[in-house]
Every structure is written in structure tokens, then in C-alpha cells.
């Protein structure tokens, strides 16, 4: 795992992709920090984090799009898959490399915290809660992104599909479910009892609702378990995709 991790980290910076990612992340977060926090005159950082969700949607695919697709395209996967390492090592090495870069990007928050200290008080629990929420949201998105990357040989299609899926996950929140509930077709198809049960089930799956919960200062264990499960599940799927390729 160490070898893969180190290679990917090195590659982020030799290819310049890491710099692009960090630069865009810092500019976007800086803008939202200024717009949502500094300009509003409140010391609450939550609005910034709500906006950052969108940034994450577009930037995570930059990290994950080439992780496995490029290996396949350049046939370097032949070197990896015939080396005496397990598939989990391979996938987790890549996952943690992308995650490390994401953490580096996100930790700019602490620079903003220092700036905020000059301007006023910081609500540390809210800030840290938000920071943590964004970390595990990012981890989940990275796992999903790597999974999508394992399905294709083309970086661009990997990125486009990832952005699309992240956008769907973004749109999928409580208000979307309310709209679904009032949809006449939906209410015709499902009976009253099942409808409520279904919507309830779906609302538990909404990443955005869970993320928003954090930004409001609710630190919920079930949400943490939810995001970590997504991380595990999609890394597991990626391992299966690689395994399946051998047996195809």
C-alpha cells in the first residue's frame, strides 16, 4: 500500500494536477469565506461550508478521474496486478493518496480560523464539526470517484460521470423528497403507507441532508457511520471490479 500511496502522491505533484486542485480549492473556498463569512459580519462559518459542497462536487473528480482509468489505458495495471500485492492494498493506496491531498486542501480552513480570530470570536465546535463533516463527505466522494474511474479507460468520461453522480446526490435532499411526495404520478403508483416508508428510507440515504445536519452543528453518530460505510462499500466495489476483470 505504501508504494502505491507514495507513487500517487508524487504523481499528483509531478503532473500538476495536485497544484490545480489545491489552487482552485483555495480560490473557491477563499471566495466563499469572504462572501459567506467575512462580509456577513457573523462569526458562524456554516454558510461557507454549505457552499463548499458544490466546490467539492466539481473538484473531487479531478483527483479521482485518472486513478484507475489511466492505469488501464497505459497498461500499467499489468505491473500492479502481477505484483505480489492484494487488490485492497492497491485500492486503499490510491484512496488514501487522494484523501491526503483533499485533507491538505481542506485544512486551509485553519488559516481562515486565524483570520477570523482577528475579526472576532470563533465558534470552535461549529467550525470543527463542519471541518469533520466535509472530511467524511470528501472521503465518500473519493471512494465513489475511484469506483467510477475503475469502470472506464477514459479520464474524461470518468470525470463527467462522477460530477453527474455527485450532482444527483446533491440534488437529492429533503426538499427534493417533498416534491417527489407531491408528485401525482408517484402518489398514484404507491399506496399511502408504502409511500411514507419509502420516502423515510430515501431520506436516510441523502448525503446532503446528513451533511447539512453537520453544518447546523448536529454531530450525529449515525451520519458518521453512514459516510464511513459509503467509503468502505465503494472501495469494496472497486476491488470487485478489478477482481472481476481477471475473471471476465
Amino acid at each position: 500500500m505504501g508504494a502505491i500511496y507514495r507513487r500517487e502522491m508524487g504523481s499528483f505533484f509531478t503532473s500538476g494536477l495536485g497544484y490545480v486542485f489545491l489552487t482552485v480549492f483555495y480560490i473557491a473556498s477563499g471566495y466563499f469565506f469572504y462572501n459567506d463569512v467575512v462580509k456577513s459580519g457573523l462569526s458562524d462559518t456554516s454558510p461557507m461550508f454549505v457552499s463548499m459542497f458544490i466546490v467539492v462536487i466539481f473538484l473531487i473528480p479531478v483527483l479521482t478521474m485518472r486513478l484507475l482509468s489511466e492505469e488501464k489505458k497505459n497498461r500499467t495495471d499489468q505491473g500492479l496486478l502481477t505484483a505480489p500485492i492484494g487488490l485492497w492494498e492497491l485500492v486503499l493506496g490510491k484512496f488514501f493518496a487522494a484523501f491526503t491531498l483533499y485533507v491538505i486542501a481542506e485544512s486551509i480552513i485553519f488559516v481562515y480560523a486565524v483570520i477570523l480570530r482577528y475579526l472576532g470570536d470563533i465558534v470552535w465546535p461549529s467550525l470543527l464539526g463542519n471541518y469533520f463533516a466535509m472530511l467524511i463527505l470528501g472521503a465518500a466522494f473519493i471512494a465513489i470517484g475511484i469506483f467510477i474511474s475503475s469502470l472506464t479507460e477514459n479520464q474524461m468520461s470518468s470525470a463527467v460521470v462522477s460530477v453527474f453522480i455527485f450532482l444527483v446526490l446533491y440534488a437529492f435532499d429533503d426538499s427534493a423528497l417533498d416534491k417527489l411526495n407531491s408528485n401525482s404520478f408517484f402518489s398514484k403508483v404507491f399506496k399511502v403507507g408504502t409511500r411514507e416508508k419509502m420516502l423515510d428510507f430515501l431520506s436516510h440515504l441523502s448525503m446532503r441532508s446528513r451533511y447539512t445536519e453537520f453544518t447546523k452543528g448536529v454531530f450525529s453518530l449515525s451520519s458518521i457511520v453512514f459516510f464511513l460505510s459509503i467509503v468502505f462499500l465503494f472501495n469494496f466495489f472497486t476491488v470487485r471490479v478489478l477482481e472481476k476483470k481477471r475473471w471476465a
Binding site: G2, R7, T14, T76, Q78, P84, W247, A248
Partner: protein, 361 residues
């Protein structure tokens, strides 16, 4: 060292590799020969655990590659058809990466220096791989396979795309490596296999068509009982030809005579086939002497490996003597009847496109 039993790989209905079995002993250099799309790369990918087999078993050093992949893979150094190089890394960084990837326990600096010296890439170590020439890339690929001193080396077309000098260099390197490693090497270039390998397996349409040393294969397929003669008759006309054919036919032991082309004006070549037991050369000489004909040339048909390869891979049926094949059980020659060959041809035509698809995936 390597044992392959009834290996089969199917893509859908198509069999890319069909029931291949062979053994490679320690220190042997085995050449895999076959036309494009014969199943060489598929077999090698299975040997290295990159893809799985549909059925059959592969034992590397007694370890099943599907049961204990990590342990088995630790014994193999693999140079695929396209070397798995990361273009954005320097040679040094890449070799260090492979060193870590293979969890090599040898002293890092000394081992990498050794490998680089062996492959003659010491002077390009600080350079980016993408800036190297094809020959250097190939050598870096070979160096990568050599890291951790695996007892088995599997090289898929190692000289493809190199210039003649580089080919000779790589060949002598492989020969050198053969002293310490068991090597399997694939190629569709005959002289290469002949120059480097102790033993040859010819693969065609997913099956083993021949297995043995170059001489053994040649002996079993060549028709030692065939020869070509050039005889000058007295009149330099076609009547000579008929007369000569008729006379040779009467010699005991001659099975078949055919007049070939007119090589020199009025002088023809004759293909003579005997029953393989009697040596008719003296009789022919005597016959010519008595008739006043001049033998200008007598040549035993000596099939080169090239001829054999062509014969086998073109699906041409060969005249091989059964008892001979039995005497040397190590040599196996699968001959197809015409009907079988035709069916196989059709299957192979589909197979090829299929394999290409598989490669691209």
C-alpha cells in the same frame, strides 16, 4: 519450476487458449512461438496471474497462482508486451517504486545498481521515462521484471520495436539471465527464438502445435526422406524429363518422383521422396552414370524452423511418421485433418478479433 495443466481460456464461446499443458524445468529458456493472435499473450497473462484461466491449473514453484496469488506472483518477474512504465516518473523513481511494490527485502541501493548495470540503464536513471527511446524503455521494463530476483522471468515479445543492435543486446542479456532464472519468452520472430531458447513450444490457434528443441522439432517434421535433384539429360528437351522420371521411379525405395521447374535451359529439378528406410542416392548416381546423365545438384530437403513454423501455422497437413513420434515422447505434434483445419481456421478468424477486444479492455 512452472507446471501448466490443461490450461483453457474462453472469451464467450471462443477459446483463446485451448487445453495447453507443459512443464518448464529450472534454468530452462523456453520460447513461445506463434503467429499473432495464437494465444501467446493470453497464456502469459494467465501465467502471471493478470487474468484467470477458465479451467486448468498453473503451478509456479509448486504454488497455484489462483489459490495463493501473492506467494506465486512473488516468484515471477513479468515484462508484458507493453512495459508497464509510468511516463511521468524518472527511471530511478520508477525502479524504487517497483522495489517497494514487490516488497523487496534485498539491500535497496546495491540491488538497484545491479539491475541497472545488468540492463545497461545506469546512465539514464535520472531521466524521465517519457523522454527515453523505445529501446531504453524496453530495458527499463526488463529491469523492472528483474527486481527482487524472481526465479521465473516471463517476457512477452521483449525485442519488439527495437533496432537490430538492441535486439542482439537484449538477446544476449536474456541468454545471460537464463543461467540464473527460468525464462519464458514469447515471440513471433523465429531466428530470435532459435538464437535464445533451449526449447520451443509452437502455439497455434490456442493449442500446442509442437514442443521440443529446434532440432527435435525440425527432425520430426522435416522429411529427411525427401530430396531435390538437378539432372542434365542428353537432349535438353522434355523427353529427357519423362525418361528420367520414369527411370528414377523404378529404383526400389523411391515412393514418388516429380519433375519440378526448369532451372537451367533444358535442365529440370526433380523432387524425390523415398520410403525413409533406404538411401537411394547411390542408386540414383549409378542410374545416371549408366545412362550418361549428369547430376548437377543433389540436395536433401532440410526444413528450417521457418518452414516448420509456416507449415504448422498454416494448418498444412504434414507427413509425419507415427513411430518416430512415439520414440521421442517429449515431442508432440498435433496434426489436423483437413476438415479440422478448416473448422479451426474459421474459429481462429473469430478468435483473433475477440482476443483483440480482450486486449483492449
Amino acid at each position: 519450476m512452472i507446471e501448466v495443466k490443461n490450461l483453457t481460456k474462453r472469451y464467450g464461446d471462443k477459446r483463446a487458449v485451448n487445453d495447453i499443458s507443459f512443464k518448464v524445468e529450472k534454468g530452462e529458456i523456453l520460447g513461445f512461438l506463434g503467429p499473432n493472435g495464437a494465444g501467446k499473450s493470453t497464456t502469459m497473462n494467465m501465467l502471471t496471474g493478470y487474468i484467470s484461466s477458465t479451467s486448468g491449473q498453473i503451478l509456479i514453484n509448486g504454488i497455484d497462482i489462483l489459490e495463493e496469488p501473492k506467494k506465486a506472483k512473488a516468484n515471477i518477474g513479468y515484462l508484458p508486451e507493453i512495459p508497464p512504465l509510468y511516463m511521468d516518473m524518472t527511471v530511478d523513481a520508477y525502479l524504487n517504486f517497483v522495489f517497494d511494490l514487490k516488497k523487496c527485502k534485498l539491500p535497496r541501493k546495491a540491488h538497484l545498481t545491479d539491475v541497472c548495470n545488468l540492463c545497461k540503464i545506469s546512465d539514464v536513471r535520472p531521466r524521465l521515462i517519457k523522454n527515453l527511446s523505445k529501446g531504453y524503455k524496453q530495458r527499463v521494463g526488463l529491469a523492472q521484471a528483474l527486481i527482487n530476483n524472481p526465479p521465473v522471468l516471463i517476457l512477452d515479445e521483449p525485442t519488439v520495436g527495437l533496432d537490430p543492435n538492441q535486439i542482439i543486446e537484449i538477446r544476449s542479456l536474456i541468454k545471460k539471465l537464463g543461467k540464473r532464472h527460468t525464462v519464458i519468452l514469447s515471440s513471433h520472430i523465429l531466428p530470435e527464438i532459435q538464437a535464445v531458447c533451449d526449447r520451443i513450444i509452437i502455439i497455434n490457434k490456442g493449442v500446442v502445435a509442437a514442443d521440443g528443441t529446434a532440432d527435435e522439432i525440425a527432425k520430426n517434421i522435416t522429411n529427411e526422406h525427401k530430396m531435390t535433384l538437378r539432372i542434365e539429360g542428353p537432349t535438353h528437351t522434355k523427353t529427357d524429363k519423362e525418361q528420367i522420371v520414369k527411370a528414377i521411379k523404378e529404383i526400389s525405395g523411391v515412393k514418388y518422383v516429380r519433375a519440378d521447374m526448369e532451372r537451367e535451359k533444358g535442365i529440370y529439378d526433380y523432387d524425390v521422396e523415398t520410403d525413409g528406410k533406404t538411401d537411394v542416392r547411390r542408386d540414383i548416381n549409378k542410374l545416371c552414370f549408366e545412362n550418361g546423365w549428369n547430376i548437377l545438384m543433389l540436395q536433401l530437403s532440410d526444413l528450417t524452423l521457418e518452414d516448420i513454423f509456416l507449415k504448422i501455422t498454416m494448418g498444412e497437413s504434414l507427413d509425419v511418421k507415427e513411430e518416430k513420434a512415439e520414440k521421442k515422447p517429449r515431442i508432440k505434434i498435433n496434426l489436423m485433418t483437413e476438415a479440422e483445419a478448416k473448422a479451426a481456421d474459421e474459429a481462429a478468424a473469430d478468435d483473433e478479433s475477440d482476443e483483440e477486444k480482450g486486449d483492449e479492455e
